[in-house]
Amino acid sequence: MSISSPVAFTNNPDELFVKKHVKYIQSLDTRKDEFEYWLTEHLRLNGVYWGLTALHLLNDPTALPRDETINFVKSCQHPSGGFGAHPDHDAHLLYTLSAIQILAMVDALDAVDTAATVTYVAGLQKPSGVFAGDEWGEEDTRFVYTGLQTLKILDRLDAVDVEKAVGFVLACQNYDGGFGVVPGAESHSGQIFTCLGVLSLTNSLDRLSTASRDQLAGWLAQRQLPNGGLNGRPEKLEDVCYSWWVLSSLAMLGKLHWIDQNKLVGWILSCQDEVRGGFADRKGNAVDVFHTVFALCGLSLVGWGGLKEVDPVYCMPVETTKRLFGSK
């Protein structure tokens, strides 16, 4: 959907163009006269979270103005305690987590009414243990993760029924070892990340048997294609964002070494625009902030030099999660 100029993909997949990626992220907010900017308004708060996380990993956490960031997050909070993607948009769990993560990263959780946020999140848990995304009731393992992570950051997991939430997630495991959006839905790497995230942040990973964890890690490792890239489901195309969903899942299972990391790194680096910065979903497409942060998260997980360490459970810098939860 991009109308911006063509991307100059690197022919030098040994280098990470750190300064250009910082500039690219800073430039996002100055592109307001571009048609695609308003098309992504419904993702604005996610976008700020993605950009800020990327900047933290790039070791340039102050490249976005802190006060303006905090003010923007505040302007997205509803009286219900939840956050919308933008001041005019309804509250939803997806943006509520982004808001809380942003504030956690800039150490400003006291800037908003977090007690109201806890009430909002807790109100979205259903009797089955799952969370709805918003008042409209869509249910999805993504929302279990976003709800529980929000509460974990706010140190209020006690506000919901954690055991039921874990039970719902376990019911979503499929015959191939993976997890889907609801019980019975096809395994998908993105949903696997959210389900393992729930099990990790509630210290419940051992609810999966060793055999089951190995089966799942084997399935995840199968996501690597001969060119090094990772896909999200069998027989689908590779995409840079799975460098996060698959790798973070393998990291939570302690099996990062089950894929060929060198091949993956080369493939991720080949997706960056070496002139203007940013990463695309795959070489040849337009860059965006979503794929940029997940490319950097993937590189960070395999220990790319110069990048800050990312926490595979929370998708925030380890510096932040250590400050929040103490060292693990």
Binding site: D29, K32, F35, Y37, W38, E41, H42, L43, R44, V48, E68, T69, N71, F72, S75, G84, A85, H86, P87, D88, D90, H92, D134, E135, W136, E138, E139, L170, A171, C172, Q173, N174, Y175, D176, G177, G180, V181, V182, P183, G184, A185, E186, S187, S209, A211, S212, R213, Q215, A217, G218, A221, Q224, G228, R233, P234, E235, K255, W258, I259, D260
Partner: protein, 338 residues
């Protein structure tokens, strides 16, 4: 007179039908992070939407306005939510029967389908559809609608999620569902979504109940035929193993079948890393550790070297009583969500 056909253009600022709504421009406050210069049509439509929402106004006009905005930005979840509220309000006030507007749930569903075809990656469309069908308590024609979507993308995750919801909500675990999966797999035997859904309708819904007579054998045969046509396709292999587990049948029963695709002593004739993988387990189970190791070495060195560390891990487990990573004992529980 306002028109509600989504193809007709409305000039909100001059159309007398809209004169009673005060447009509210976006208040960006003093926040530079959020200042947005919109496309002019979008600016106008959004300011009218804010005006409408401010007075909680629901009429057939709102359907036109929200359709306009969704046509420009289908992912705008707030607009979808307001549209659903408007539809419910119209139904409650008998507004569907207004001759000028003559909207109906049927028309709404047709319109939603046309938007779905334009925006295949969109989430909101399918949730909107689910809210409507749940409200109407009538799934007539809905499977056909998802089949239309599969014609252009047979792995669309949102459509499959909706399809499973339909099957659960209206108890459609029937022959039509089974036949559709067979057809989709005939068209593309690598369609993992269709394999997953087939499991869901045949065995996955049973929980701890036993399958009906003949189902296990029928599914084993189906998977074997699919494997024979594409031995390196992982989906039917995973399916086959799941069916065996459900039927309490040991892996060893697959020995001859697997050896067809991975004759371990004739390396050049090996056609499937998945067959080799299962054979290593069978050899291990039956105490033939030498052959089991040989299979895993071949996988690490030649047939799946990208995952050589995984195969080395498997090699270390050989001969131990530790479980080989195949068993997921749990079966998804099907929640009836009425």
């Amino acid at each position: 007179m306002a028109s509600y056909d989504s193809d007709d253009e409305v000039d909100y600022a001059t159309d007398p039908a809209w004169a009673h709504i005060t447009p509210l421009p976006q208040d960006d406050g003093e926040n530079p992070l959020a200042q947005i210069a919109y496309h002019p049509d979008y600016v106008v439509a959004m300011s009218y939407l804010r005006g409408v929402m401010a007075i909680n106004y629901h009429s057939a006009q709102v359907l036109k306005l929200t359709a306009d905005i969704i046509g420009m930005n289908a992912a705008h979840y707030t607009v979808w939510g307001y549209r659903f509220k408007t539809l419910m309000a119209l139904e409650a006030s008998n507004g569907f029967n207004d001759e000028e507007t003559s909207w109906s749930w049927r028309k709404e569903l047709d319109w939603v389908q046309s938007i779905a075809k334009q925006y295949e990656k969109n989430y909101q469309i399918w949730h909107h559809r689910q809210l409507i069908i749940n409200h109407l308590n009538d799934a007539t024609g809905e499977r056909e609608r998802t089949n239309e979507m599969f014609a252009s993308d047979s792995k669309n995750y949102h459509v499959w999620t909706y399809r499973q919801w339909l099957v659960k909500r209206f108890n459609l675990f029937d022959k039509e569902e089974l036949d559709t999966m067979e057809l989709l797999l005939k068209e593309d035997v690598r369609n993992n979504s269709a394999w997953n859904h087939r499991y869901f309708i045949t065995l996955g819904r049973l929980g701890t109940d036993s399958p009906a007579d003949g189902v296990i054998n029928r599914e084993i045969e189906l998977a074997k035929v699919a494997i024979s046509s594409a031995p390196q396709n992982p989906s039917p292999w995973n399916y086959l193993k799941a069916v065996l587990r459900k039927g309490n049948i040991g892996l060893a029963s697959l020995k001859d079948f697997c050896e067809q695709f991975a004759p371990i002593d004739s390396e050049d004739e090996i056609k499937s890393s998945h067959a080799l993988d299962i054979l290593s387990e069978i050899y291990d189970e039956t105490g033939n550790l030498g052959k089991a190791e040989q299979a895993l070495v071949l996988l690490a060195a030649k047939y799946d070297p990208v995952r050589k560390n995984y195969w080395r891990y498997r090699k270390r487990l050989l001969g131990s009583n530790e479980n080989v990573p195949t068993a997921s004992e749990k079966t998804p529980i099907v929640h009836a969500t009425a």
